[in-house]
C-alpha cells in the first residue's frame, strides 16, 4: 500500500484542522437493512469505496452494523455454495452488529487508543463516524488515523524542539541577567562600603584644612613673640604679644586636640578603601581558563569582604575554620561567584539577631571540601530537592531569578566537582562544595 500522505488528502487536513476525526470523514453511502448480500458485494466494487474495509448498514440515521470485505470473502465468495446460500438474504444476517463507532469530535489520539483496544487483528474493518446527535455521518479508515497520528507525533517533536531552543535562549538571557543582578548588588554594596569611609575621610580632611590657618597663625605669632623677646625690642614684643593673644583667641584648642583622633580615623578610612579596592581586583581577575593554582582561602576571604555589606546588614557573625588545602587549579572568578552566592544566601536566610555563618575547609579523598553553614530559617524538606533547579525560587518576584544556585551547580560541575545541601528548618542550612584537587585535569573524563 502507498503510505505517502499525499495519496490521502484527508490525513494532512486532519492535522491542519482541529485534530478531530471529522477531518478524516469518508462520506460513504450506507447500505439499507433491506439490501441483499449480493448487492452489498457489488457495492464494494464501487471505486468510491475502494479504500474501505467495511460498509455501514444504516436505517433512518441509526447505524445497525457493518459488513466487511473479509466476511463476504470468507462466507460468500470463497465458501462452497456461499453465493447460493447467502446471496439473496438481507445483508444484516452477515453484519457485525457492534462495529467500532466514534463521534466526529473524537481526537485523533483518542481514536488511535480506541482502535488499538477495540479492533481485532488482523484488521478487517474500518470504523463508523457519528455526528453529535449519534446519527451516521460517514466512515473513517483505520490507516488514515495511524498516518495522522504519525504526522502529529512528528509535529509535536518539532514543537518540542522549538520550545527547547526558545528555553535555551531565554535561559542564556536569564543567566546574563542574573550576572547583571549580582553585579548590581555588588556595586550597591561596594558603593556603600566605599562611600562610608570616603564620607568621613573627606569631611575630616576638610575640617583639618579649615583648622590649619588658625594653628599656623598661632605658631607664627608665637615665633614673632620669641623673635621680639630675643631682639629685646619692647615695642615689638608688646605688639607681637597682642597678636599672639588674638591668634590664641581665634584658635580652638579643643578642636585641635581632636585632630589626632580625626587623622587616625582618616588613615583608617583610607586603609579600608585601599583594602576594598585590592579585594575587588582579586575578585574581578580575568579567568585564564582554569590555569591558575589559587589559594582557596584567599578566594573565601575576598568573597567575605565583598559580601560584607550583606553580612553587616543582618548583623551576622562569620567564623572560618580553614584546613590545609593545597593551591587549587580552578577558574577563580567562577569559584568566587559560587562562594559569593552561598555566603549571600546564608546571610539572607538569617532573620534573627544572633546570626552565624561558619565556613570550614578540608581535604577529603582528593577533593577540597568547602562547607558554608548558617543558622538561619532553613529550607523546608519539600523545597530542598528543588533548590538547584533552574528558575526555582522562593524569593518574591523581582528579587531573584532562581538561577543563582543552578549556576553554582553548573560551575562546580564544570570543575569536576559536586555541590550539595542539607537543611533543618529553624536550625540552618549547610552547603558543601567539593572541588577536585587535581583541578581541570581531573575533569577531562566526564
Amino acid at each position: 500500500m502507498n503510505t505517502s500522505p499525499s495519496s490521502l488528502p484527508a490525513a494532512p487536513a486532519a492535522v491542519a484542522g482541529d485534530a478531530a476525526l471529522a477531518a478524516l470523514l469518508i462520506p460513504a453511502t450506507p447500505l439499507t437493512p433491506r439490501c441483499s448480500v449480493a448487492e452489498a458485494g457489488e457495492r464494494f466494487l464501487d471505486p468510491a469505496h475502494a479504500n474501505l474495509l467495511s460498509l455501514p448498514i444504516v436505517d433512518a440515521g441509526r447505524v445497525l452494523g457493518c459488513i466487511t470485505r473479509h466476511e463476504l470473502m470468507l462466507r460468500v465468495y470463497m465458501a462452497p455454495y456461499g453465493r447460493e446460500l447467502h446471496g439473496r438474504r438481507p445483508v444484516t444476517t452477515l453484519m457485525n452488529a457492534q462495529p467500532l463507532s466514534l463521534s466526529l469530535a473524537t481526537s485523533i489520539e483518542a481514536a488511535g487508543q480506541l482502535i488499538g483496544q477495540r479492533l481485532r487483528r488482523p484488521i478487517t474493518e474500518d470504523f463508523v463516524l457519528t455526528g453529535a446527535d449519534g446519527c451516521y455521518a460517514g466512515m473513517g479508515i483505520v490507516l488514515d488515523v495511524l498516518r495522522a497520528l504519525e504526522i502529529r507525533v512528528g509535529q509535536h517533536a518539532q514543537e518540542l524542539e522549538h520550545a527547547y531552543r526558545r528555553l535555551k535562549a531565554s535561559q542564556h538571557r536569564l543567566v546574563q541577567s542574573e550576572k547583571l543582578a549580582t553585579l548590581g548588588q555588588l556595586v550597591a554594596g561596594l558603593a556603600h562600603e566605599i562611600n562610608t569611609p570616603l564620607g568621613y575621610v573627606q569631611n575630616n580632611l576638610a575640617m583639618t584644612r579649615d583648622l590649619l590657618p588658625s594653628a599656623d597663625s598661632l605658631v607664627q605669632a608665637g615665633s614673632a613673640v620669641l623673635d621680639a623677646a630675643l631682639g629685646e625690642d619692647a615695642a615689638a614684643l608688646e605688639s607681637s604679644l597682642q597678636q599672639l593673644s588674638a591668634a590664641r583667641a581665634a584658635f580652638d584648642p579643643a578642636m585641635f586636640a581632636d585632630l589626632t583622633a580625626l587623622l587616625d580615623d582618616t588613615l583608617h578610612g583610607v586603609g579600608q578603601i585601599a583594602d576594598l579596592v585590592a579585594h575587588l581586583k582579586d575578585f574581578s581577575r580575568v579567568d585564564s581558563a582554569h590555569a591558575e593554582a589559587v589559594d582557596l582561602h584567599g578566594l573565601i576571604d575576598a568573597a567575605l569582604r565583598i559580601a560584607g555589606h550583606l553580612l553587616k546588614k543582618n548583623n551576622v557573625q562569620v567564623r572560618c575554620h580553614y584546613g590545609q588545602i593545597p593551591p587549587l587549579r580552578c577558574a577563580p572568578a567562577q569559584i568566587n561567584q559560587v562562594l559569593l552566592n552561598l555566603i549571600g544566601n546564608a546571610a539572607q536566610a538569617i532573620d534573627h539577631d544572633s546570626g552565624m555563618v561558619t565556613i570550614r575547609t578540608q581535604t577529603l579523598g582528593g577533593y577540597a571540601m568547602i562547607a558554608v553553614q548558617d543558622n538561619g530559617r532553613g529550607i523546608p524538606p519539600d523545597v530542598l530537592p528543588r533548590i538547584f533547579e533552574p528558575f526555582f525560587t522562593t524569593k518574591p518576584v523581582g528579587q531573584g531569578t532562581g538561577l543563582g544556585l543552578s549556576i553554582c551547580q553548573q560551575i562546580v560541575q564544570s570543575h569536576g566537582g559536586r555541590i550539595a545541601a542539607t537543611s533543618a528548618p529553624e536550625t540552618g542550612t549547610r552547603f558543601v562544595v567539593a572541588l577536585p584537587l587535581a583541578g581541570a585535569a581531573a575533569r577531562s573524563a566526564p
Partner: protein, 304 residues
C-alpha cells in the same frame, strides 16, 4: 542640660562618621550621636530634638524605618537621610514612608550638609517655639481640587473614579496648560507624570513648590530613576512617588493623604515652612512658563 543651641541627633553604624560629623557640627549645635537606634528613639521621646540625620543601611533597622518611628514620636523633628548608596527602594521609601526633608549622599559636601541642617534646624526651632498645635481643625467641607498633568487621559479618569464626585479634577496635557489652571485657582494636589514628550515636568514641579508651596505634588512615572527622585525630594519636596502603572489603592491613599495634608497646611500655615526646598540647579522652562510661575507665586502669597 538645657542649651540655647538646637539639638541635632546623628545615627550611623560607623562610629567614625559620627565622630567626623559631630566635630563638624558641635560649634553650632548640641550634637548627640549614637550607633544605637533605641538610644536615638529614647532621645527623641525625652527631649526636643530639632534635627535627626540618619544613615540608611544599618544592621538593626533601615534609616527610613527609624525616621518613620521618629516622625510618630516627634513630628516636629526634621528628618534627613545620609546614605552611602541611594538604591531606588530606599529613595522611594524615603518619600512615601519617611516624608523626609532632605536626602543626602556620602561622601557629603560639608557646606551643603551644613546648609541643609541649618535650614532644618531653623524650621524645627520655630516649630518647637509655636504653641502645640491646636486639636485637629475640622476638615473643610469639600476637598480641594486636584490637577492631573499627564499626556495619558486615562490617569485623570482613574483619579476621578477614586475621589468623591464633588471633588474637582482638572486635567492638563502640558506644563503650560497646567500652570494656566494653577493660576486660575488654588489646587490642593497636582498629580504629575514625570515623563513628558516635550516638557520638563520635573523642573516645573520644583519651581511650583517654590511658587505655590501649599500645593502637594504626587509624582508618578514608569521611569524609576533614584537620582531624579532625590532631586525631587530636595528641590521639590515631592509628597509621594508612585510607580506606573498606577495601583488603584496606592493612588487612592496617596491622593487622600495629600488632600488631608493640604487641609492641614491651610489651617496651620506655619507648617508650610517644613516644605522649604533647595534652589534647583538648572531648569529648562520657557519664559512664558516662568511668567506663569511668578503670577502663581504672587497669588499664593495673597491667599496665604
Amino acid at each position: 542640660m538645657t542649651s540655647a543651641k538646637p539639638c541635632v541627633v546623628l545615627i550611623d553604624d560607623e562610629e567614625r562618621i559620627l565622630r567626623s560629623l559631630a566635630l563638624l557640627l558641635r560649634s553650632r549645635y548640641e550634637v548627640l550621636a549614637s550607633t544605637d537606634p533605641v538610644q536615638v528613639l529614647q532621645w527623641v521621646r525625652s527631649r526636643p530634638v530639632h534635627v535627626v540625620v540618619s544613615d540608611q543601611r544599618m544592621p538593626a533597622i533601615t534609616g527610613v524605618a527609624l525616621l518613620r518611628q521618629i516622625r510618630e514620636h516627634s513630628p516636629r523633628s526634621m528628618r534627613l537621610l545620609l546614605t552611602g548608596y541611594a538604591d531606588l527602594a530606599a529613595v522611594e521609601a524615603a518619600v512615601n514612608e519617611g516624608e523626609i526633608f532632605r536626602f543626602l549622599e556620602k561622601p557629603w559636601d560639608a557646606l551643603r550638609l551644613q546648609d541643609a541642617i541649618a535650614t532644618a534646624a531653623q524650621i524645627a526651632v520655630a516649630d518647637f517655639a509655636d504653641t502645640p498645635a491646636a486639636p485637629a481643625v475640622a476638615a473643610p467641607a469639600a476637598a480641594a481640587p486636584v490637577l492631573v498633568l499627564d499626556e495619558d487621559p486615562l490617569t485623570a479618569t482613574l483619579v476621578r473614579s477614586l475621589l468623591p464626585s464633588d471633588c474637582l479634577v482638572a486635567t492638563a496635557a502640558t506644563v503650560e496648560a497646567a500652570l494656566a489652571r494653577l493660576e486660575e485657582q488654588e489646587f490642593g494636589v497636582i498629580l504629575a507624570e514625570l515623563r513628558h514628550s516635550s516638557d520638563d515636568v520635573i523642573g516645573a514641579l520644583k519651581l511650583l513648590k517654590q511658587a505655590s508651596p501649599r500645593t502637594l505634588s504626587i509624582a508618578c512615572s514608569p521611569l524609576r530613576d533614584g537620582r531624579l527622585l532625590i532631586e525631587l525630594i530636595n528641590q521639590g519636596q515631592v509628597f509621594r512617588f508612585l510607580p506606573k502603572p498606577l495601583g488603584r489603592e496606592l493612588l487612592r491613599r496617596a491622593l487622600l493623604a495629600a488632600l488631608e495634608r493640604h487641609a492641614e497646611l491651610r489651617s496651620e500655615p506655619q507648617r508650610l515652612r517644613r516644605h522649604a526646598v533647595e534652589r534647583p540647579r538648572e531648569v529648562s522652562l520657557s519664559g512664558r512658563v516662568l511668567d506663569y510661575l511668578r503670577r502663581i507665586r504672587d497669588q499664593a502669597r495673597l491667599r496665604a
